[in-house]
């Protein structure tokens, strides 16, 4: 996720990565990783997440923008539950894949290039 500062909004973290900040730490599925010096659950330091969750934290110095990547280790899918993916259509209207619950779905990734 792209960051302008090293403070990560917990709701944005959950939406983007599936990691939920709880009093006991950062949790995803059945895994909870304790976080040090937590004073609340609304915001968390990107450097702490990077260290504890093995997430790459990259910085473009010229444009002063950060990117916190996905946790390393294991496989891309740490659960078979479809992540909560919301993407726009051609007109920019957001569409949540969860709206298709109740149907079988073939999700096809393609590209114009």
């Amino acid at each position: 996720m792209i960051l302008k500062t090293l403070v990560v909004d917990a709701q944005e973290l959950e939406r983007r990565t599936g990691w939920v900040i709880k009093p006991e730490g950062a949790c995803k599925g059945e895994v909870c990783v304790p976080l040090p010096t937590m004073t609340g659950t609304a915001q968390v330091d990107a450097r702490v997440l990077a260290e504890r969750l093995r997430m790459p934290l990259l910085h473009d110095e010229v444009h002063d923008v950060w990117c916190l990547g996905p946790e390393a280790g294991g496989h891309t899918l740490s659960s078979a539950v479809l992540p909560d993916i919301v993407l726009p259509d051609l007109e920019g209207n957001p569409f949540a894949l969860r709206e298709l619950r109740g149907q079988k779905v073939l999700l096809v990734a393609w590209a114009s290039w």
Partner: protein, 230 residues
């Protein structure tokens, strides 16, 4: 297969966004959701590394097959192109035409298995969880792309690159795209996307080390997609 309960959702992985894909989507005029993924989120969240890729999701929102090659049919366009140009002899070809002919030669060697894939899809639509092609959650996770530290860093590098590109800093994006290519060389969406931003034909250029023809020949066109494991 829509009457039998299958919904299709297409997702275009295109950093250039709606304007890059509008001609294709408008020509297809689909009656299913047709979405745009500028940030290549499907790479990071699902493990897509090439297109076209298909993911099967059941009625409860569980993935029952992770990303895998998903050609709906055998393409005919290259055969038509060859036929139209068969009267051109080698010496009359421009360098661009010669390269295009070489690309078509490699494309023909690429293994695609649309018949087997569509048969499996029909079986799943008819039989659901009882289909032999439905995978258990542990197997779905096991088959999804491995994510060692370099692959996680490739995802962050690519995201930073595409963000800078979209913000109008095309030159600043290049080192990050190059890093993504170096860190995860088997990710064709990272490579083909970045190559396209400097050359629509994905040919040799002075920005990136690779190009489509050279990189495909390095691995062998028959290995461009992994074999379907149905």
């Amino acid at each position: 297969m829509h009457p039998q309960g299958l919904e299709i959702v297409t997702v275009a992985l295109d950093t250039a966004g709606a304007e890059a894909v509008r001609p294709w989507i408008e020509a297809a005029n689909p009656d299913h959701p047709s979405l745009i993924d500028q940030a290549h989120l499907l790479d990071e969240l699902l493990g897509v590394v090439n297109v076209p890729n298909g993911v099967w999701i059941d009625e409860q929102g569980m993935i029952v097959r992770p990303p895998e090659p998903a050609y709906p049919r055998r393409p005919t366009s290259f055969r038509r192109l060859d036929s139209a140009r068969q009267d051109l002899v080698e010496g009359e070809l421009s360098p661009q035409q010669r390269r295009a002919r070489e690309v078509r030669g490699e494309v023909r060697k690429i293994r695609i298995e649309p018949e087997a894939y569509i048969a499996a899809l029909r079986d799943w639509v008819a039989n659901g969880a009882a289909s032999r092609y439905t995978l258990a959650p542990d197997e779905v996770m096991r088959r999804s792309h491995a994510r060692p530290p370099e692959v996680a860093e490739a995802a962050a590098s690519f995201e930073l690159g595409q963000y800078l590109h979209r913000e109008g800093h095309a030159d600043a994006a290049i080192p990050w795209f190059r890093a993504a290519h170096r860190l995860q060389p088997d990710n064709w969406t990272y490579k083909r996307q970045a190559w396209t931003l400097v050359d629509q034909e994905q040919g040799p250029n002075d920005v990136y080390d690779g190009d489509w023809l050279s990189d495909v020949r390095t691995i062998g066109a028959e290995n461009y997609y992994p074999p379907l494991d149905l």
